[in-house]
Structures are given as structure tokens and as C-alpha cells.
């Protein structure tokens, strides 16, 4: 079920890559920020995570917009190393800024439904995970519809194919990039909110999701939204199975091995466009 959330983080990542060909190495940190905002809302404003989703969404959008306007835009068109290192630097700054401001303690957010679970057909499904999964599914569906049916979505897809052609068609690629990036960040933030009932909130939590998100995106195919969804579910299942049946600390190992296997054997992933 956590796979749904992995998918959400990954979808943001794949969207950013799909439209601008930039791999955002700081995606996990935005998840972490979403968690912190959610925690702050809960602690200082008594707003529970789920209702707080909208607020977080808005905050993340603004943040994504600012980050893009001041940082990302300067590396578009530059060689790959530039944005890899830029987003890497960003992730370091964000993670440690949070550390400095909030300290290293583990926070947790309590919600009334935190420990509730559905019992169904002999399986116990925890409610927060279920909600996370459902919301993730909804968001991915909404995104897919947006990409395929709306003008904006079409514009973004055109831009991802070819900047020059998009410009000729009257589309402003920079605007598309900005919105794509911002949406990607929003998805990360929302994923963070959905995760707060299940995970502790601390500065380093983003790193865990960063790596997993990359694996999911590569597995599903860079640039493919349905791929990211499917990939997220697969990885979620793999992790659950390997931690149960094989060994807890080796669970991550399997994820990485799958990652490498995909990179070497089928870099375009399950659904993706051909790798560079």
C-alpha cells in the first residue's frame, strides 16, 4: 500500500523529467518539507493532515514556483551535470536548513485514524495507508486526465517532445516548465502529508524516498506517469515481500538490484520513451 505513495513521489519526479528532461535530485526533500508543513499545521494550528492537504498543496506550489524561477531556470539547456549538481545542492540545503530550524528530533503527527485498520478477507489494511493509496491514485488519475485532455496538458506534452516546435505553435515552454515543476513539487508535498501518519518526521526522511522514487521512475519509465504508478506499486510490493520473507535490512538491497537490472537491461523502463 505504501507503493501508492511511492508512486505519488515518483510521478512528480517523472513529470519534471518528462517535460524538462531534468532529474530532480531534491524530490525527496520536498516530500520531507510537505511532512514538516503538515506537522506544523497540526501542532500550531490544530489542523489535521488530511484537511491540511489543500494548504500544503498551495504552499508547495508557491515553493516550487520560486525554486524554479530562481534556480532551475538557470540550468535549462546546460549539460546534465549542471542540474544534477544543482538539485543535489538544493537537497543538501533543504535538509540541513530544516535540521537547523527544527532540530534532529523525530516528530510525529497524531490523527484519530492513525491506528485504525480495516479487516477484510483475513488481511488487515491500515486506514492511513489505504487513504494514502486512494488519494495517490486519484491524483495520478487527475494528472493523467489533465495531461491528455486539457490544453495545458497538451502544451506540456508538446514542450516535452520539442521545445522549438512548441514555440512555433505559440506555446511558451518556460511557462510549461514552471507549471510542470511546480506540480511535481506539489505531488511530492502531498505525498509527504499522506505519509505523516505512517512515518516519523525528521530531516533525513527525504533521502529514503529520494532513492526509492528514482528506482520507481526508472522502472516505470522516465517520463511515463502510468509507469510511475505501476512502478510504485511494484516496488512497494517487492519491499514488503523481501522484508517479510528475506530480511529486513536486505529489503532495500533488492530494490537497488532491481534498479540496476532495469538500468542495464531495459533503460527505458516499462513504459518509458527510449533512454538518451
Amino acid at each position: 500500500m505504501v507503493g501508492g505513495v511511492y508512486a505519488l513521489v515518483a510521478v512528480g519526479l517523472t513529470l519534471i523529467f518528462g517535460v524538462m528532461k531534468i532529474v530532480n535530485f531534491a524530490q525527496g526533500e520536498f516530500v520531507m518539507l510537505g511532512m514538516y508543513v503538515s506537522w506544523m499545521l497540526a501542532t500550531f494550528a490544530r489542523i489535521s493532515p488530511y484537511p491540511g492537504l489543500l494548504i500544503v498543496g498551495a504552499v508547495m506550489y508557491a515553493l516550487g514556483y520560486l525554486v524554479f524561477k530562481f534556480l532551475i531556470i538557470r540550468v535549462i539547456g546546460k549539460p546534465d551535470e549542471a542540474f544534477i549538481l544543482l538539485t543535489l545542492g538544493l537537497s543538501i540545503v533543504l535538509q540541513n536548513l530544516v535540521l537547523v530550524i527544527f532540530g534532529a528530533e523525530y516528530f510525529s503527527v497524531d490523527t484519530p485514524i492513525k491506528d485504525k485498520a480495516f479487516h477484510m478477507a483475513g488481511l488487515s489494511l491500515s486506514v492511513p495507508r489505504l487513504i494514502a493509496f486512494v488519494v495517490a491514485l486519484l491524483m495520478v488519475t487527475a494528472l493523467t486526465i489533465m495531461l491528455n485532455k486539457t490544453d495545458l496538458g497538451r502544451a506540456m506534452r508538446a514542450t516535452s517532445e520539442s521545445r522549438e516546435v512548441a514555440t512555433l505553435l505559440g506555446i511558451d515552454p518556460i511557462k510549461c516548465f514552471t507549471i510542470a515543476f511546480a506540480i511535481g513539487i506539489v505531488l511530492a508535498g502531498i505525498a509527504g502529508v499522506l505519509l505523516t501518519p505512517m512515518f516519523y518526521v525528521f530531516p533525513g526522511v527525504g533521502t529514503l524516498f529520494n532513492l526509492t522514487a528514482f528506482v520507481v521512475v526508472v522502472l516505470g519509465g522516465m517520463g511515463s506517469v502510468p509507469g510511475a504508478l505501476l512502478g510504485g506499486l511494484i516496488i512497494g510490493v517487492v519491499e514488503a515481500l523481501s522484508s517479510t520473507y528475506i530480511s529486513l535490512d536486505l529489503a532495500q538491497l533488492f530494490t537497488f538490484l532491481i534498479f540496476l537490472a532495469v538500468l542495464f537491461l531495459r533503460p527505458s523502463g516499462l513504459f518509458g520513451e527510449a533512454a538518451k
Binding site: P79, E81, L86, I92, S247, L250, F256, L260
Partner: protein
């Protein structure tokens, strides 16, 4: 500064650096210098593949860890001197480089970077997992029993300081020779235009692998020295992604693809980190890293060729190699 005076800067610097331990006895300060030398050496090694080879590896901590663990475990299990154990570690690092490099070099750009990160994490996970052998997360302390050069045990920091300086000097000379030799030139060709290079007879795969292997050896050697200086290793300190990133950042901030860049970068980053910790260290330890991240971002956006490009006017001829240029 006129060029004539500039000629004296380098020798003066060397004299100063050699003399420091004679006047400074506080171990902490010597340790800072040690870290600068070590990071500079690792940076020089990384530069071979990351700068001259233009392949952004974010997994070099693998080689550091292999060097460190091999030497330490040989001491712990077999009472074998790290002078031999370290060489074995360096050889293993080369093997690892081949295993990692062969598949990874087929990938471009961010895919390559991600694959190297994955290799690093896999190594760290394996080190944690086989705890019967490697002591896992507990780490391996190196029992100290007084001066014993054969086992790299010294009671004062000064010897370690000089060892690190020596290692830096040796690696520097090696890289400098390589730059101008056939391999260095072939690397430049591969970096500029792989297809054109191939049409001129350059076996790009071999060239990249050679650079990768050499960089592995260098970083492994540093791992050995580090282990015995600090006296304790564990997977999170020697095999982490953070270390891999730090090695790369040192070179990028200093000047990717240049000879002095890694040295400048190491000095800047270590000093910046230590100063920040000294004055703002109370602020929950993250402040220095924030600055470190900001420095990286600023360099990427403003001076992609690294801080060394600030000194361009003093150089008689143009830099041999360029890296992340717009």
C-alpha cells in the same frame, strides 16, 4: 599580483605546509589539515573520471570503504600489516571498479549518476548486513597499542599529517604526468566528442575504464590511511552517499578537470565547514552543511568552472581540461 611574485607563492606554500606540525601541536588543527590533504587526494582521484572523463560518479565511497575495510579486517583477523592489507584493498577496489564500470559506462548523464549512487548504497547495505564478518553497524575499532609504523600506529598526529601530505604529493605528480601523456589526451578527446575520438582510434571504453580504475585505487588508498588515522570505521562513515557527494563537490567547487582545483576545493570546503561549526556549531550541526550546499549551488550557477577560475589570470597557459561549462 605580478607574475614574478606569483612564482614564489608555490614554494612558499610548500615550506609553510611542511613546517606546520613543528609549530602547531593541537591535534585538532593537524587533523583539519589532514582532512584537507585527504579530501584533496580523493578529489584528484575522482577528477580523473569525473573531470577529465566527464562521468559524474556519485559512488566513489565504495572504493574508500573497500580500502578501509580490507586493510582493517586484515589487521583484525590476520594481524597483517595494512601496508600489505592496504595494497590488497586497492587491488579489490580495482576489481570493484571494473564490475561497476563495465555496465555503468553504457549509461549517460543522470542515469550514470543514479547507477553509481545505487552501487554505493548496495555496498553500504552489504557491509551492514554481513555483520558477523564486518561488525555491521557497530563498526570496527582499531586497537591502539602505541607506536607501530608497520601498522600505521603513531602516537602523535604529526606522522599522519606527513603521510597524508606525501600521499597527496604522489597522487598529484601521477595525475600531472597523466594529464600530458597519451591517456590524458585520449580522455580529453573522449570528453569532447566520443564519436570523433573513436574515429581517430581512441578506444573510449578502455580509456574511461582506465581512468575509473586509477581513481578507484587512489580513493582506496585514502580509505586505508583514513581508517588508521581515525582508528575506527563503520559503514555510515566510509560508505555513505554523503561521502561520495562530498568528494565530487570538493572537485566541482574547486575546479573540475583542473590539477589544482581539487586542492583548492578541499581547502575551502574543510575550512568553511570547520569555521562554521566553530561559530555556529551550537545550531544543531546543520549550519555548515547548509553553507556547503549553498556554495555548491552558487558555484554551479555562477562559476561552473570552479573557484580556481578566479585565478585564471595567473596561469601561463590555458587549463588543460574543462568540465561543466555552459
Amino acid at each position: 599580483m605580478n607574475p614574478k611574485a606569483a612564482k614564489f607563492v608555490l614554494p612558499a606554500l610548500i615550506v609553510v605546509v611542511l613546517a606546520i606540525p613543528l609549530f602547531v601541536t593541537v591535534p585538532y588543527y593537524l587533523h583539519i589539515m589532514f582532512m584537507i590533504f585527504l579530501l584533496a587526494t580523493m578529489g584528484l582521484g575522482w577528477n580523473l573520471i569525473g573531470g577529465y572523463g566527464a562521468q559524474l560518479s556519485l559512488g566513489h565511497s565504495v572504493f574508500f570503504a573497500i580500502g578501509a575495510y580490507t586493510a582493517v579486517l586484515f589487521v583484525v583477523y590476520k594481524r597483517l600489516t595494512p601496508l600489505v592489507g592496504g595494497v590488497i584493498g586497492m587491488a579489490l577496489a580495482v576489481v570493484a571498479a571494473v564490475i561497476i564500470g563495465l555496465p555503468c559506462f553504457r549509461l549517460r548523464g543522470p542515469y550514470f549518476a543514479l547507477a553509481t549512487i545505487a552501487s554505493g548504497e548496495i555496498t553500504r547495505t552489504l557491509l551492514l548486513h554481513f555483520k558477523d564478518f564486518t561488525a555491521g553497524a557497530n563498526g570496527v575499532p582499531i586497537p591502539f597499542h602505541g607506536n607501530d609504523p608497520l601498522f600505521l600506529q603513531f602516537s602523535s598526529k604529526a606522522e599522519y599529517y606527513y603521510l597524508a601530505l606525501l600521499l597527496l604529493a604522489v597522487v598529484f605528480m601521477i595525475v600531472r604526468t597523466m594529464e600530458r601523456a597519451k591517456i590524458g589526451r585520449y580522455l580529453a578527446a573522449v570528453r569532447e566528442d566520443q564519436d570523433a575520438a573513436e574515429s581517430l582510434g581512441v578506444k573510449t571504453a578502455w580509456v574511461k575504464m582506465a581512468a575509473f580504475m586509477l581513481s578507484a585505487v587512489i580513493v582506496a588508498a585514502c580509505g586505508v590511511l583514513y581508517a588508521f588515522t581515525v582508528g575506527y570505521i563503520d559503514p555510515d562513515s566510509v560508505a555513505s552517499v554523503d561521502l561520495s557527494i562530498q568528494i565530487a563537490v570538493v572537485v566541482i567547487v574547486g575546479g573540475i578537470g583542473t590539477l589544482w582545483g581539487p586542492i583548492l576545493g578541499a581547502a575551502v570546503i574543510v575550512l568553511l565547514t570547520e569555521l562554521t561549526n566553530m561559530y555556529l556549531g551550537a545550531v544543531r550541526g546543520g549550519a555548515s552543511l547548509v553553507l556547503y550546499g549553498i556554495l555548491l549551488i552558487v558555484v554551479i550557477l555562477v562559476k561552473p568552472n570552479g573557484l580556481i577560475s578566479l585565478f585564471d589570470r595567473f596561469w601561463p597557459k590555458k587549463q588543460v581540461a574543462h568540465g561543466t561549462t555552459a
